[in-house]
């Protein structure tokens, strides 16, 4: 974990309620896709945690949904503004377990760490299948980018305005050919996925956090190994940990 000041390069709306924030600064704390950063938003007390969507040696990107006062204030951040960010938080996805044909499943904002993972996997020469679900066509993000990366993309929307009508689980042609499942999305989606898959998998959780680094027990969740902190012991948990 590191605490650094980053400079905003870009803050762009990518769907009616979703933005991508690009920051430059020291990324030496970043280790794996699925980790998160904790952003100090000017005017707010608690930091706001976000999955990392991309990172390189110069900076990183997060995707955020305008879903409350903190994220609403973030939409006003401008190029050149500074942000105090804790980076390299939590445990990300384990790339070594992907096998040759991993299945990636994302719902809504959950596409952010899944995108990060896809980038690393394709970089390693592994072509994942990505099933991603959104409410409606206007909410679809990162589809083009994932296809451009070479991923096999299956898109679902709840209203059928793009791709397959329904939820990601409706589109899941789950077969034993998939070597591993990586999943991030709303709890009901992840629960449904966990009950449907044949292979082992990892699931990335979201939580309302106090600190983001294991100090306050604000984000605890029950697992098969007892109470775990989403921020410090997660946010990625194995299928074997999950109790719904």
């Amino acid at each position: 974990m590191r605490q650094d000041v980053f400079t905003i390069i870009d803050n762009r709306r990518v769907s009616p309620d979703t933005y991508v924030l690009t920051l430059s600064g020291n990324t030496s704390g970043f280790r794996s896709p699925g980790q998160f950063v904790n952003v100090s938003v000017p005017g707010f007390f608690l930091r706001r945690p976000f999955s990392v969507m991309t990172w390189d040696s110069e900076g990183f990107q997060i995707m955020y949904k305008n879903a409350g006062h903190g994220t609403d204030a973030m939409t006003g951040l401008k190029q050149g503004d500074s942000l105090d960010v804790l980076t390299g938080l939590g445990n990300g996805f384990d790339l070594d377990r992907s096998g040759k044909q991993p299945l990636l499943i994302a719902g809504g904002s959950g596409v952010s760490p899944i995108y990060c993972l896809a980038e690393r996997l394709t970089g390693n020469g592994i072509i994942p299948t990505v099933v991603m679900g959104f409410a409606s066509s206007e909410n679809v993000v990162m589809e083009e980018e994932l296809r451009a990366m070479g991923c096999r993309v299956v898109l679902t929307t709840e209203d059928g305005s793009s791709g397959i009508r329904g939820l990601v689980t409706d589109a899941l042609a789950i077969s034993e050919e998939y070597t591993f499942v990586y999943c991030c999305g709303p709890l009901p989606m992840m629960k449904a996925v966990s009950e449907k898959i044949f292979t082992d998998g990892q699931f990335s959780f979201e939580a309302r956090m106090g600190c983001g680094f294991g100090a306050c027990m604000g984000c605890s969740m029950m697992t098969a190994r007892g109470t775990k902190r989403v921020c410090k012991d997660g946010p990625v948990f194995g299928l074997e940990d999950l109790v719904w």
């Binding site: 608690l46 309302r208 680094f213 306050c216 029950m222 410090k232």
Partner: protein, 305 residues
Amino acid sequence: MVNTSVRLGNIELENPVIPASGTFAFGYEFADFYDINMLGAVVIKGLTRDERYGNPQPRIAECPGGMLNAIGLQNPGVEKVISEEIPKLRQCFQKPIIANVSGFSVDEYVECCEKLEQEPEVSMLEINISCPNVKHGGMSFGTDPGSASEVVRAVKRVTSKPVFIKLTPNITDITVMARACEDAGADGLTLINTLLGMRIDLNSRKPLLANKTGGYSGKGIFPVAVRMVYQVYESVKIPIIGVGGISSAEDVLEMMFAGASAVEIGAANLVSPYACRDLVRELPATMERYGIKELKSIIGEAHHG
């Protein structure tokens, strides 16, 4: 060179900065960030006799000037704290360790303290009779002087370690509780615990916390904490640990002028894992700026003259 050392009863601290219970886990987590031996002492996460999961989610909410929490005393139980957590902390921390104890009955407080008495790595006990987030989680002991006395007497009977009592601010007259604890034999007081607060989600139209109410901490409670430390300093002779919204070295001085012998840092740790380190680093220069050579000489100075 300034002298930042202070005393809490028979314990000498190199400086008055102590992370508060529940905001520093069991301490060793922070050893990844910096050498925590620079701290005066550490209060570990509050423990109870039995393991507790705590309250349902969500347990955390933002509010102006701070945050609400309703963790609900999540902890692995006193035995695991002693067998697993304290050894891990001791590996990276050689300064005083303060255990924070909550209970749902006098017997439970006693049982925890008896077990901690056998643990030489624990220098001091902080007895929490003020947790706002669990029913009977000390809160009834915290607002009734008779019940508080009973807890203090029972605990003192089974331990030779200094016993500090952590008091709630959600009370009409905190000096009544402070005197009751002193009279019952407490070696010191920690104040204040969190203010009871609530936020309501405008979208769901329901309280943001699953527990509905939560404990309010952060800068916003600092003026209340300073007032209570000031009032209690005039009412008792035992030392006070001041806590509540401290977020700068200047706040440390203000709390000590009011009457605190040391301070605990709570919510600030959640905003920055380096909060306590930064306070310790800034303290000497801040003392010099205000003409202070011996930190312990300023304790309660706002009452003089």
